[in-house]
Amino acid sequence: MLEYAWLIPVFPFVAFLLISLLPKRTLFWEDGGGYAIGGAASAFIVSMLVIWDVINGHTLTGPAAPEATWLVIGSFTIKFGIWIDQLTALMLIVVSVVGTLVVIYSGGYMHEEGGRRRRYYAEIMLFISVMYGLVIASNYLEMFIFWELVGLCSYLLIGFWYEKPSAASAAKRAFIVTRVGDIMFMAGIIIIFKYVGSFDFETLFHGGGFASMPANMQTLSTALIFGGAIGKSAQFPLHEWLPDAMEGPTTVSALIHAATMVKAGVYLTARTYPLLVATPDSLILVAVIGGVTALIAATVALVATDIKRVLAYSTISQLGYMILGLGAGGYLVIHASTPNGYSAATFHLMNHAFFKALLFLCAGSVIHAVGTNDMRLMGGLGKKMRITSTTMLIGALAIAGVPPLSGFWSKDEVLAAVYHAGDWDPVFTLLWILGIATAFMTAFYMFRMWFLTFTGEPRSEYHAHESPKIMTVPLMILAGLAIVSGFALFIGQGFKGFMAGAIGDTPIHYEAEPLGDIAVEIFTDPLTYVSLVLAVAGILIAYRIYYMPGFDRSVFARGVPGAFQRALENRWYISKFYDDFAYKVVYGFSIVADLFDRYVIDGMVNGFAYLGANTGNRIRKAQSGNVQRYASLIVVGIVLLLIFVIYVVPWGRGL
């Protein structure tokens, strides 16, 4: 089955072509929604077959995989191939499950958009197709092409309501900011290509090519490739585009900006692991960026009032966790030869995709009912929207890390990996402290959001009602997944044993231990209780402040906490810094460029035009309209010609 994995992106792409090219009256249900569900479901089925093969221990990588030659340049060929290993399978699970459910949910959520649904479904299908392409790519160049295509789809879908100025500018911002990371990614693969002469994972991961590079170039190239992940996965300092990307439809936020595309950065980092473990300095960079991002984003989420922005900052924060886990995991691979950090981060990737997509779709259901994103205008929705409030509570408990929901297992694994990496570099101990602080804040802001939305009295006029079945059924499925996906840790050979196969040539001493022992290990480790206690404390504090009456929240607005709160509300002034930078520095440079263009470039062009016009003006005087002058010139010309033919030509011949 694995050799047919290339079919996965084909189905959604066909759906994309059908939706965008068919005449309007043949689009049937929901202006193309039917084709979209068909395309997503076909890809889902093929993905599941592929995943089943991978779970049974088969992988398809390297020369055995089918490939097509794309370009031949001299003796060098660029190929499009597929690379199916455990990491690919993990991403396939995420993209296929969340993608299919989101498309189904869109059938209800986008119902009121009318004829614009056609554009929506076409773009969503294109996105799903290229996202599959990204995860099955077998070389960096192929990956980069799909990487840019998902960025394009993200741009198109954030700007879906392009007539709204904020959406249009958010789309541009997302595109431009991620482009900064993409340039770094490209620079990284170009450096590798310069030394190794290949983009193929096979050559880079299993051959000695990468090892033959100078050490500083190895570090530079992996750090630059990670730069691509910083942009795509919205890591500090390029994270500010993701909250703005919430201008798009909520389904887009759930699919692209929570579950799949932003995971591409984590996927890239995980995919580059065989190279990263050779460059410990880059691993430190990865871990520090991840830890700092997790903390900064979580603090901003504490005060956000827009329900989707809370989730966006939460997404950034959780992505920071994954990146931190990967950074720490590299140290564990190098020094302890265990796949713990790697498996924890990828495990968190999968769990997060489920519960964050769930949270976003619940938020979409709330927004659909209330008509606003502002939590200050909500309240008391719990009674009217029982399914949404229950499923969202499950999502919030999962992300807060309450056992036995999925977030608990993976977050705990990530924090444990970071703590153990502290044995080899003290910076990881510091990052572990950031991590548990983030865990506490995560629990707090999630329940702040939940209490503000679903409990208390309505704070504005609205007539909320539960969403239709087509929206609530995907919610229930995702809620189920958010509960059970954590138990993947205990299925079969265990999640660690499964993911250990994807790290590459680095020696991994993973001995399958009885799965019961893993659970015992988790629950006898005091670290587990540290994060658990903090999570529960966060929930209780949120309960005290936002649920129980009689708490005066205005204390946060005065004195030192007030200054702190204002800094958070302004997103640590990072966004403002970028705006000022764009305004002052870029604008100043633009003025210089403008003057240069107007006076130097335009001056040259105008000069040539003036020269031509002036010359013509002078020459036209020769055309006097006087026939006799023409006749005279003809005679003079003929005489000169005769002189030439009679005297000069024979003279020339004689020479």
């Binding site: 036209r620 055309q623 006097s624 309209g625 006087n626 026939v627 006799q628 006749a631 005279s632 005679v635």
Partner: protein, 106 residues
């Protein structure tokens, strides 16, 4: 028998006089007359060469003379057309001074 060179010099002079007239005279009628002189210079050449051919080969060669006759007929037609144009120009502009008829420019 007058040598051919004499005829040629004569016709060249005649042609030059005609060309000079075309280039320098202001009156359009005089310009037309100058053109006639140039045509006749060509006719003289035709006839001169025809006669020269007969002298060289001893066989009568008529084509030069035939062409001269054609040329005279065409000259007559040309004068008719030319005078017609001059007449039309005169009616339009009240002048036949070629220096003043110069709107066909730029």
């Amino acid at each position: 028998m007058i040598p051919i060179e004499y005829w040629l010099v004569f016709s060249s002079l005649l042609f030059a006089i005609g060309a000079y007239g075309v280039m320098s005279k202001k009156n359009a009628i005089v310009v037309l007359m100058s053109i006639e002189i140039m045509l006749n210079a060509a006719n003289i050449n035709f006839v001169a060469f025809s006669s020269y051919h007969t002298t060289l080969h001893g066989v009568a060669e008529a084509s030069g003379q035939v062409f001269a006759l054609f040329s005279i007929a065409i000259a007559a037609a040309e004068v008719a057309v030319g005078l017609g144009i001059i007449l039309a120009v005169y009616r339009r502009y009240q002048t036949i001074d070629v220096d003043k008829i110069n709107i066909l420019r730029w």
